[in-house]
């Protein structure tokens, strides 16, 4: 039985305390489903994206890319290309090697032996890897010239699967001496005892989470200017974690970090995949310097994006053993996981620990042993992809739950109720020291079942079975862990010099009394401008329309810390906390100033909107001073200001620090994330008996992200995440052939989901406020790939009686047809085995 553990983490207790005390006064704007202020601009085509930027003298770069997955480069000849009219210069790998240092590697030991140059030097390790570049006056000339670059290769045997990589037959990076770039065992509880006492043990040979990606409407794009006079490199890019990119670029390019200026604009989607576009940033900078400091623009094509930006992590789960008691309660899980990070680790091997934020998923199991491995292969490098690293673990656990439930004859909803962490156990400390802040998984499931009409569908399912139809009901329980503690990197590499989590914001009352908020966050559709304005409006007693929010990263003008970026479901917590803190500081300064100006006491002041716009009022004298007058005193009319107010700048910066400590590296124990939003989806899927195509008959999503700052935005995120997940489950697959060719290098092959494929969504929302955040909110943008789990669960339910085990996260009519055929010839028995250890009856109903 799971034991409730008390949370001992001191910092969290303090955060919980302060959260309560600060959350006084009912908010007026926070919680309202107001329209996004950025919508109007974006919908009318008035957004400003990198590709809209045109600088004087701007050149265009075009990459020549490898058609091989793994090959030695024997010759690169750019002479013909360089001679084409309009071409300004070229770059080759050999040249680049002389100009930069390889990028830093996060992984320890063998990982440090990878030489990750932004351009292939002696050999190519994935299809699409840049081998040369051409810089020209316009894109057409660049493309014409790129075709004239002659490259010769000598093919090498490619490493295309995780299992192949572990065989070490062919090495992706010979300098590493192995293909396994990370290994660690995460073990908690008493495994031996749990398996000894188990009533049932379920063995699952192999499960596989496939490689898919995010397909932002806007591909990667950037402009670089390496200005030799000012000794600065200026970037306009859609990188979604610029402070991280700068930390990679600075040592590689041999410049101080303050010489790198980053700016971002509107971004047409990112989902994490744009975090790792910094190798291209390095190449554009080199190209600019070589071209005599002229700006160089790169706008990625879709095929380049598919082949050579970043994919999501692929993971294989081997030799899984699950211990259960007689009631179907899971008591232990033992498994070996092999993550495939593609050709270069880059953000990896962080994914080898990030999954551990949700080690037991939504379940109470306390004995867990995961032997975690990561390998390099000859595929596109991975990058954090919405649901990053946790969705793989959650999918694995959901498959375990369903396979065990079906094997023991326990209905899948019942199976979950028996294993879920209970509402009254929150905050709940997981076996590895993570603290689930709040949540009511059973309540969410109940809501999902009601929305979808579970009982009714159960009856319909039974009737349909009689007719020989295959209908399945599935549940997917996910956690969206947000606000990560970078200290978990120490579990990967004890020497990693980063930890914690922070965000900065500046709140300013400008010369004419404008409230201006700047932050370095890099929104890609999450509505930061709107939610930030809602928070500030409540602090200052104005309306969101009075608040000008400057989004985007801007080294010179906006606030940032080394953690600044948009990733890890956190803006509602970290970004808004920083903004709230900055606005609170500003309010305090304004109060002091107003008290002096109005000859009043600070405690008698109130903030609001009067006849002359936003103002501060003295409740006693009824006198007021508006924002313009306040700003005027400090900025342009300050001769009469008393000395005690000289520290008032009306320009207040605040840094929010998430309440984290360093994890215990040896025990792999500690709090890895601050908040845990949850999504529980319920689906009814029918597999067509003739075409084997899965059809979604009903779909419900229930989310709980604590206090929703803006319910409209939350619902939008849920819709987006659901579409992404259904696409991944049924359509999208970055499949490679055995020779290293990506089989989905265009949208015609990758088929990202469209409206035509979407079911109608039934939506439900619950609120379990987080005790650890000032506003009770939790980050929720990633969504944990709930539909992947849910659709697999429904397919499993539909086909279990046919002897089919759903062991892959990607299922198409084709693969289902194959699975049904194989099951007919006994494939089932070999992949899952059940040991009944005790006499205790097999049915736990």
């Amino acid at each position: 039985m799971a034991k409730t553990t008390r949370v001992k983490n001191k910092r969290l207790k303090a955060a919980a305390g302060s959260g309560k005390s600060r959350a006084t006064g009912a908010p007026k704007w926070v919680g309202q489903p107001i329209r996004r202020v950025e919508e109007d601009r974006l919908v009318r085509g008035k957004g400003i994206f990198v590709d809209d930027q045109k600088l004087t003298g701007m050149l265009h770069i075009r990459f020549v890319r490898s058609s091989y997955g793994h090959a030695k480069i024997t010759r690169v000849d750019v002479t013909k290309a360089a001679a084409l009219p309009g071409v300004v210069c070229t770059l080759t790998g050999a040249e680049v090697k002389g100009l930069v240092k390889p990028f830093i590697e996060i992984g320890p030991d063998v990982g440090q032996k990878i030489a990750d140059y932004p351009m292939a030097v002696d050999k190519v390790v994935y299809q699409g890897e840049p081998v040369a570049a051409v810089v020209a006056e316009n894109r057409m000339a660049a493309e014409d010239a790129a075709e004239l670059v002659e490259v010769e290769y000598e093919p090498l045997p490619p490493v295309m699967t995780a299992e192949d990589a572990l065989k070490e037959g062919s090495l992706v990076h010979p300098g590493m001496g192995t293909n396994r770039n990370w290994h660690g065992v995460f073990e908690y509880g008493d495994m031996e005892k749990a398996f000894k006492q188990a009533d049932h043990v379920v063995h699952i040979d192999r499960l596989h989470f496939h490689r898919f990606s995010s397909t932002p409407l806007e591909c990667n794009a950037m402009i670089a200017v390496w200005d030799s006079r000012s000794e600065r490199i200026e970037y306009w890019s859609n990188n979604s974690f610029p402070s991280f990119a700068a930390q990679f670029l600075s040592p590689a390019l041999g410049v101080r970090i303050d010489q790198i200026l980053m700016k971002s604009f509107d971004i047409g989607g990112g989902f994490g995949i744009k975090i790792t576009n910094y190798p291209y940033m390095a190449l554009c900078a080199l190209a600019s310097r070589k071209a005599g400091d002229r700006p160089v623009k790169w706008t990625e094509t879709r095929t380049e994006h598919m082949q050579a930006s970043a994919h999501g992590n692929e993971r294989t789960f081997l030799d899984t053993r699950v211990a259960l008691d007689k009631n179907g309660v899971i008591t232990a899980i033992d498994s070996r996981h092999v993550d495939d990070c593609g050709a270069y680790p880059r953000y990896e091997p962080l994914g080898c620990v990030i999954w551990a934020q949700v080690l037991p998923g939504s379940y109470r199991v306390r004995n867990i042993r995961i032997d975690m491995n990561q390998v390099v292969t000859n595929k596109c490098p991975v990058g954090p992809n919405r649901g990053y690293s946790r969705m793989q673990q959650l999918w694995f656990l959901e498959r375990v739950l369903d396979i065990c439930g079906h094997s023991l004859g326990i209905p899948t909803d019942e199976m979950r109720l028996r294993n879920y962490i209970r509402k009254n156990e929150m905050p709940y400390e997981t076996p590895n020291g993570c603290v689930y802040d709040s949540g009511d998984y059973a309540g969410m499931l109940a809501m999902g079942k009601t929305l979808v009409g579970w009982d009714d569908w159960k009856r319909k399912q039974a009737a349909a079975r009689e007719e020989g139809r295959w209908i399945g009901l599935g549940i997917g329980s996910t956690l969206d862990s947000g606000t990560n503690n970078f200290g978990q990197a120490r579990i990967i590499n004890a020497g990693a010099p980063f930890s914690g989590q922070s965000k900065a914001a500046i709140a300013k009352l400008d010369i004419y009394g404008e409230v201006v908020i700047s932050m370095g966050s890099v929104p890609q559709g999450q509505g930061h401008e709107t939610t930030a304005a809602q928070v500030v409006a409540d602090v200052l007693g104005v309306s969101p329309g009075h608040v000008k929010v400057k989004p985007g990263f801007d080294t010179e003008q906006n606030a940032y810390t080394g953690h600044t970026g948009t990733y890890a479901s956190q803006f509602a917590v970290t970004g808004l906390s920083a903004i709230h803190g900055a606005a609170t500081k500003l309010r305090k300064e304004m109060s002091r100033l107003a008290a002096w100006a109005l000859k009043a006491k600070e405690k008698d002041l109130e903030f609001g909107v009067g006849a002359q716009g936003p103002e501060v009022r003295d409740k006693r004298s009824k006198k007021s001073i508006n924002y313009w007058a306040l700003a005027n005193i400090v900025n342009v009319n300050n001769a009469g200001m008393p000395e005690k107010l000289w520290d008032v700048t009306l320009n207040c910066r605040h840094v929010y620090h998430a309440p984290f400590q360093l994890p215990d590296v040896k025990k792999k124990f500690g709090n890895l994330t601050l908040t845990y939003a949850a999504q529980i989806h319920v689906a009814v899927v029918e597999v067509d008996r003739d075409t084997f195509q899965p059809k979604i008959l009903a779909y419900a999503c229930v989310d709980d992200c604590g206090r929703a700052i803006n319910p409209r935005i939350v619902e939008g995120q849920v819709h987006g995440c659901t579409a992404h997940g259904i696409g991944a489950a049924l359509m999208e697959d970055c499949a490679y052939d055995g020779d290293g060719n990506l089989l989905a290098s265009t949208f015609s092959d990758y088929t990202p989901i469209t409206a035509m494929n979407m079911p109608d969504l039934l939506y439900g929302h619950m609120e379990s406020p987080s005790p650890f955040t000032f506003n009770g909110a939790k980050g929720m943008g990633e969504g944990g790939a709930a539909p992947v789990h849910t659709i697999c669960a429904a397919l499993q339910d539909a086909l279990y009686s046919k002897g089919v085990i759903i062991n892959d996260s990607h299922n198409t009519g084709d693969s289902i047809f194959l699975a049904v055929q194989r099951a007919g010839t006994g494939g089932f028995a070999s992949s899952v085995r059940i040991e009944h250890r005790r006499a205790a009856g097999r049915s736990a109903r």
């Binding site: 091989y68 894109r139 095929t303 003739d690 075409t691 195509q693 990506l742 265009t746 035509m756 494929n757």
Partner: protein, 361 residues
């Protein structure tokens, strides 16, 4: 590209032309042509079912190779331009097949002859029991025409091709001339009495559609020959059809498609039937054996089952990202079975919705 073992992008890149001709700037030229070299709208299309044709090699490029642009004022002028400009010149209609291929540099015409400004070429008319589609009739115009609504199978087809943008721009003539193995019109029109009117300087000819396609991406048209009109005989009252295509998503070609046109006789006998399979061969395939098992027979389950078996045998699919060959046989059989059912109900006078099916729904 990648599913083709031999079609790997060449290790050494060559340029085929000198590259000095630029596209002429013509203010009112169709948007599609501008797209080819002046905007960054980079929808890429990968090869469809055929794997033997060398022109289907994708490159990762979004600007066409330089070409010259010419606008024809009449059919004759178009032919003459093609003659003058030589083998490397191509006609352009809606540009929905040609432009993507040019942008990926899978084709590199030296010159384009634009037929969009030839008067009278997009008319849709109904006369003497015949439906006449001008070569430039857009898929969307056909979808909305009265003519199409009188032949359900034509409506099924026109309404489901790709997405709205493609339907607004793509033409029926271009589709037949392109002879894509996955093109919808080829499969659908082969179930009807269809002929293709062609024009060249030496005169006109009318070719039965059965004789029109030679191979994947290959027709009997000469280099200077144009399709001017597609003529479809109006089916009899007791005849109706259905077109069912299964697609992964809207803007891609079908994985498999089934076109069935059925004429009912007395007491539910099948007087005549045509069954055509799309996407499962180098051209659309007439499943003649399957037709034989139904013709002059009562439409019973047993007969339909054996027709479907014959369909499986007639299909010649290949493995690709849309599905394995084995699966496509299963799929085409299922689609034909369904299409026969719908065609029969329609022939009996019922209104039945049909058309395209998508993953997930």
């Amino acid at each position: 590209m990648s599913q083709v073992p031999n079609a790997r992008v060449e290790a050494v890149y060559f340029s085929s032309a000198g590259g000095e001709t630029a596209v002429s700037s013509c203010l009112s030229a169709p948007i599609a042509i501008e797209c080819a070299r002046t905007t960054t709208n980079d929808f890429c299309r990968s090869p469809t079912a055929d794997t033997r044709h060398p022109k289907r090699q994708a490159e990762n490029i979004v600007y066409a190779h330089p070409f010259s642009y010419h606008r024809a004022g009449s059919l004759l002028e178009a032919s003459e331009l093609l003659q003058q400009l030589g083998e490397e010149a191509r006609l352009i209609a809606g540009g929905q097949s040609l432009i993507p291929l040019m942008k990926m540099r899978m084709v590199r015409p030296s010159a384009l002859v634009d037929i969009n400004f030839i008067p009278g070429l997009s008319e849709i008319r109904c006369s003497d029991g015949q439906l006449r589609f001008g070569a430039l009739a857009r898929h969307a115009d056909i979808e909305e025409s009265d003519a199409a609504s009188s032949i359900p199978i034509v409506q099924d087809c026109a309404a489901g091709i790709a997405d709205v943008q493609v339907r607004n721009q793509g033409t029926i003539g271009g589709s037949l001339a392109e002879a894509d193995p996955s093109g919808d019109w080829g499969a659908v029109l082969l179930t009807l009495e269809t002929s293709v009117r062609c024009s060249r300087p030496s005169g006109e000819r009318t070719i039965a559609l059965d004789d029109f396609f030679k191979d994947a991406y290959t027709t009997v048209l000469g280099h200077d020959e144009l399709i001017s009109e597609i003529i479809v005989k109006q089916p009899a009252k007791n005849s109706a059809g259905a077109y069912l295509a299964f697609k992964r998503s809207a803007p891609v070609y079908a994985t498999a498609s089934a076109a069935v046109q059925l004429t009912l006789g007395d007491s539910d006998t099948c007087k005549d039937v045509r069954i055509v399979l799309g996407c499962v061969g180098l051209t659309a395939i007439r499943a003649k054996e399957a037709e034989k098992t139904l013709r002059e027979k009562k439409l019973e389950k047993k007969r339909i089952d054996s027709a479907v078996e014959a369909v499986r045998a007639a299909a010649e699919p290949q493995d690709d990202m849309r599905g394995s060959a084995d699966y496509k046989r299963v799929l085409i059989a299922a689609l034909v079975k369904r299409a026969i059912g719908i065609a029969a109900r329609r022939a009996r006078g019922e209104q039945v919705e049909a058309g395209h099916e998508y993953v997930g729904r």
